[in-house]
Subunit: 426 residues, 4 copies
Amino acid sequence: MTTFVNEATADGRAGAQVSPPSLAERYQAVRALTETLSEPLSPEDQTVQSMPDVSPTKWHRAHTSWFFETFLLGPYASGYAEFHPAFSYLFNSYYEAVGQRYSRPHRGLVSRPDCAEIARYRRHVDEHMMSLMEGPLDDRATSLVDLGLHHEQQHQELLLMDIKHVLSQSPLDPAYVVSHREETSPNPSHGGWFQHAAGPVEVGHTGHGFCFDNETPSHSVIVTPYALAERLVTCGQWLEFIEDGGYKRPEFWLSDGWASVQQERTDAPLYWGREGSEWNLFTLMGRRPIDPDEPVCHVSYYEADAFAHWSGFRLPTEFEWECVAADQPVEGRFLDPAQPHPAPQHGSSWYGDAWIWTASSYLPYPGFRTAPGAVGEYNGKFMVNQHVLRGGSCVTPTGHARATYRNFFPPSARWPFTGVRLARDL
Amino acid sequence: MTTFVNEATADGRAGAQVSPPSLAERYQAVRALTETLSEPLSPEDQTVQSMPDVSPTKWHRAHTSWFFETFLLGPYASGYAEFHPAFSYLFNSYYEAVGQRYSRPHRGLVSRPDCAEIARYRRHVDEHMMSLMEGPLDDRATSLVDLGLHHEQQHQELLLMDIKHVLSQSPLDPAYVVSHREETSPNPSHGGWFQHAAGPVEVGHTGHGFCFDNETPSHSVIVTPYALAERLVTCGQWLEFIEDGGYKRPEFWLSDGWASVQQERTDAPLYWGREGSEWNLFTLMGRRPIDPDEPVCHVSYYEADAFAHWSGFRLPTEFEWECVAADQPVEGRFLDPAQPHPAPQHGSSWYGDAWIWTASSYLPYPGFRTAPGAVGEYNGKFMVNQHVLRGGSCVTPTGHARATYRNFFPPSARWPFTGVRLARDL
Amino acid sequence: MTTFVNEATADGRAGAQVSPPSLAERYQAVRALTETLSEPLSPEDQTVQSMPDVSPTKWHRAHTSWFFETFLLGPYASGYAEFHPAFSYLFNSYYEAVGQRYSRPHRGLVSRPDCAEIARYRRHVDEHMMSLMEGPLDDRATSLVDLGLHHEQQHQELLLMDIKHVLSQSPLDPAYVVSHREETSPNPSHGGWFQHAAGPVEVGHTGHGFCFDNETPSHSVIVTPYALAERLVTCGQWLEFIEDGGYKRPEFWLSDGWASVQQERTDAPLYWGREGSEWNLFTLMGRRPIDPDEPVCHVSYYEADAFAHWSGFRLPTEFEWECVAADQPVEGRFLDPAQPHPAPQHGSSWYGDAWIWTASSYLPYPGFRTAPGAVGEYNGKFMVNQHVLRGGSCVTPTGHARATYRNFFPPSARWPFTGVRLARDL
Amino acid sequence: MTTFVNEATADGRAGAQVSPPSLAERYQAVRALTETLSEPLSPEDQTVQSMPDVSPTKWHRAHTSWFFETFLLGPYASGYAEFHPAFSYLFNSYYEAVGQRYSRPHRGLVSRPDCAEIARYRRHVDEHMMSLMEGPLDDRATSLVDLGLHHEQQHQELLLMDIKHVLSQSPLDPAYVVSHREETSPNPSHGGWFQHAAGPVEVGHTGHGFCFDNETPSHSVIVTPYALAERLVTCGQWLEFIEDGGYKRPEFWLSDGWASVQQERTDAPLYWGREGSEWNLFTLMGRRPIDPDEPVCHVSYYEADAFAHWSGFRLPTEFEWECVAADQPVEGRFLDPAQPHPAPQHGSSWYGDAWIWTASSYLPYPGFRTAPGAVGEYNGKFMVNQHVLRGGSCVTPTGHARATYRNFFPPSARWPFTGVRLARDL
């Protein structure tokens, strides 16, 4: 669950003089974006689950609605009748406290309810939510709406990660969006190093605005002198790693990583392909040649760590990134439905494009406590077998990222928009 | 491949005086039925593959078109340009001689081409096929069209078997067709036994009309005196088996069958469910209570054999059935899109409702030879690890079944419309 | 179970004038051979289970004793106390009627009881069995002893098949027996064809002497004119198959066979290896070069069938072999502990060296009935998903094979001593 | 690899006045203990691998010898001839830099070399090592011997963990050692809490004596005020957890833990069994009733964490334990071959009996560097997907544990001697 403030400035984007959007306005904006993102997708596209970790688009659309129905409309909207009795079973993702749920790896086997019915479900929930927000809401309800909106933003990113994996299954290399590629000027430099001195630093969320429970409590950690690369590792650098035998030399790899490379016969990032001697990659805009200047994306923690070893550097800890990023504006390439792909970086670049794998395991902060009840299942119970990712990506909704934000995935995950930022000791 | 005759009477349904339909007329009728069967299905329904043995509806629609494109239009239609270069890869089912093919268990991961594009593909193929059939066709081409039509009829049955499995995944218990159930008069009798004397009998296809290669050569086999039940085993009889501990007593079961029951925790036919003490079953018309008088369906060979042991009888061989059925009219409950489900039988009943599992392994007849080239892969290469089924079912297109027809599935298969007919020695 | 005769001549080897061995004498001879076969094996060797189908040597030694304890000593030896209460659980192989049993794939995980305790168990059972056989035995008990002895002979063959697989796991290529290889004269000929006319033939066991239940009832089958190769396919012929791309050309293979070759990356018979361009094979006498004249061994049904297709011939049915072999003396290379491997054949050769895969599925004969109780589980419940093998092998105990004998394995099995005899239509 | 000192006091047990044992004396003592631990085990026992994580006893005996042969005799003993050319392949555990290695999950399939040959191998290596140590050794060689001895001590613990798992497979419940159980006085108290104040603390190895590379560099971390339980959680406390539905209530569990409990149907610690309402447990001394006062053992990280949640407390971090334990004598129940099992604790107890699962992932310390070459693979490459355990157990050799020692296992591991110490915030 969340620590929150009642002001609706929650997502911190708010500029200066104009009054911030109301909760209902934010609700409408977030809900509308989900539908906008689904629009280019046919009913067939929205039905497929290409692997157990992926959910169908129509499931995302339903599950995010289920969240509001379950945690807001049920408890707070008097006399609310649920849209369909089976939906609480079908669209519960993992909340054990809420009851049984449909087996996750089988979400792609359910053709009905279809997209049209799910659109009706969304409208039904939206109408009742708008009514609910017309009346007075207590603090807990307000914060639950806020949580639901940030939850839906997370699923907007998941929706795009997932549909990219789905579309990549077809030998037709279909595009999610047909887009003219931006002209980019060549970028021979890889950027410099940003240095940080030793000392205790304060990490975790303290300020105003929304945060997830896993960003708290704020606390001190000690860092030793280090430097962070000002830009993400590029595809051109990754090609050097490949050409130097990076995927064939066990000395660079963690033991589990090497086992995975052997078993999966990995020889390049996910979505990379090769036609003769030319590398190409599948994007949400279809397949095209590799651009050596753009940040590499869709690598596992194992690959990120092996690359770092090969390069003579290392991955940063989550705190090494946080205490640098906290002093930088939250700017970078975030979700633009017309260009959902990383682009070459210029200058120093601390947010967006691709999440960075950190050397930190996803563990609770000292004194961390989960909220009681189902929303307490939000984060805490995943704190094992995962690594922290930081910074946001080109499919993270604008306003969703912040310096204290902790994303997390198992070390083998490659379908998120995951990249690499190097660190070194000073 | 096939032995065939040039007359277009191939499917033998033809009545007396009126001239039989032309090849082109039959082509149109068969192709139209596939689209009729697909009509109640949404794009979402047509995309799902609920297990590796199942294919999505849109795949069936494309694959049957691919057959005509590959074996007729490519070789015979001069200047024919294929509809899409990737389709020969995507919609080849198992013909190794035709080139690479997309992995079968992953058919449900491909959202594109979508249903609309596949509809265009079908129309494209149909237009070129109609043109081709306007000109003179040599014997080989004619027989290939004929084969293609019987092939498409097989896929019409598969389409319904498969979509039943797909729809059963949804907790909403969706109906393929909303249908008022026919009134049936109670049927207390289970029918009698039909006796057959000892002696050599002639089996296999000899007459005019189409047959598949696996029905030839005709040859003699010796049978010992036996009797066949005149009707299929009913759900009521199956309930007795369940209540007598049929699924819990290893003495009735083949060793592989018992292992499967233990592992899958099978305790009833596929699609049966239980609400309290009441059994129900999922049909293409939705879920409804068990009718004790209707033939049991969706049992594996293991279950069929265990039931036969429990009842004190046995399963018939394929030839015991064939030499009785050859003297009977090919009448019974075949495919009616409004009622795709077995119904209580009256009198003696030899065809339709549910395929019967025979005690015969699917093996070549003495002197069997496959045709050269890709169509030679039609049947012969599956002659191991399968049992023969006979008689047709309530989802077999009318005119497709005959006394010599050999259907086949692995002993564990339960999703076809499979039933049980008992036999005994005299 | 068995049909049997009371005379102790049961295994039919008996020469003319001298009186045949008594039941007790035969008991001692068979039991002693098991121990002789185990002697070259260390406790370590006797403990390993190299795959689920293999059983440890010490398990075979115990299980064959358990058979006598369970079916003879328990019911017939008054006041008999079982050797150890856990053994009926540990050493039951598959008799559901006898109670629970230890999971088959885990037999190799049980280090205790150790070999010494199992030797004590065998002696304990032998002493009580000898006492039992001193007294009068009724017909049923006599036939059960007989069955137990043939059962133990089957396990003698299994013991050698299994330990060959176990020893092959070690990179040391250890020999079961150190043996000077026999000198063999070169054998350029592959033998001729033995022709058989059409007609009904009588198959199955009718005469005196022991047989298993699956060899009965005798009955007539119709065969069409055919010829059988007088010798088994040789390693030299198999090398031609390999060199002609036999393992890489799907047109020769059954669909399941091709899938298995792809998945297992099979490119030669089991136990074949290659050092540069030279093929060698692992035998119970260690590793040595291929002898092109010796019969090929350790091929699956899929490989046998593909070879037959490649060669332009086919595999025989079990009855085609039986009605030829019935007129031949039961002579050939059977178990000799000093030379447990096939050898080049001369003249015509109908038994021994390697079991031949037949085109026949393992199914009950018309009118087949199992015995009541646990011994009824001996054969009948395995009659699905297997093919019949005929003729015996170089590890079949002398006297165990006969013309009506039906061995059976799943089509994928390669660790039995399985070979190929070709057939063709006339 | 290690930081080390040349003095042979390395293991820190050494008493005061007497001169510490020489390197050769320590070598002999450690090597002799391995053989002592193997002595009660038959060749059958020493051959079995009961799951992929377990290695056969004879493999441990060989692999520890291979370490000295590969890293000492090969490079340093001039003219040394390896004992057997295949052993470097068979007994390499995971050192990629040393060449290929035999597949770990198949170690139990290799019956040869047998125990006798491995005993000869050990003597061969020992003789050459003793000769080598007679001459002068440079620092690197000395430290490699030292590393080899600590490596062998680790395998002594693994040998006992592994053989316990092997013996538990037999329904005979065999004892590794027959031992009269010590009389223990009832222990109603569970001990108190030891408090620690906030502040930066120094962790990691700094002093003299041997340590593994993963204990360095020493560095500062910040701790917040906390308390540690002075004793391990007992079986009696665990019974309360079970009886309160601990294994059936998802609210206590990490998500991966709950999935594992569901899939494995876990309802008690490993080796616990139940006869009616009475719980018993399998020990290296056979099976006996649960003693409520003894520390619970053989629980996964998931179970440990769920117990902590249920009890209202939490697991300690590795540093919370280390900075308390560093001030305590390294005393507790370590390896005694006659009593290899935890015993009820009295007073406060910080070492031995059972390793404690910490909340800390196994990650490198800031500035950690691996040694070049094969020994660099010792620890670093395992730093993902594991949790740190601290304190040693009843099967850890005396002198092997220390305050900075970091043991590690995946969170699902249950076959090590793993227990639970609770912590709480102040």
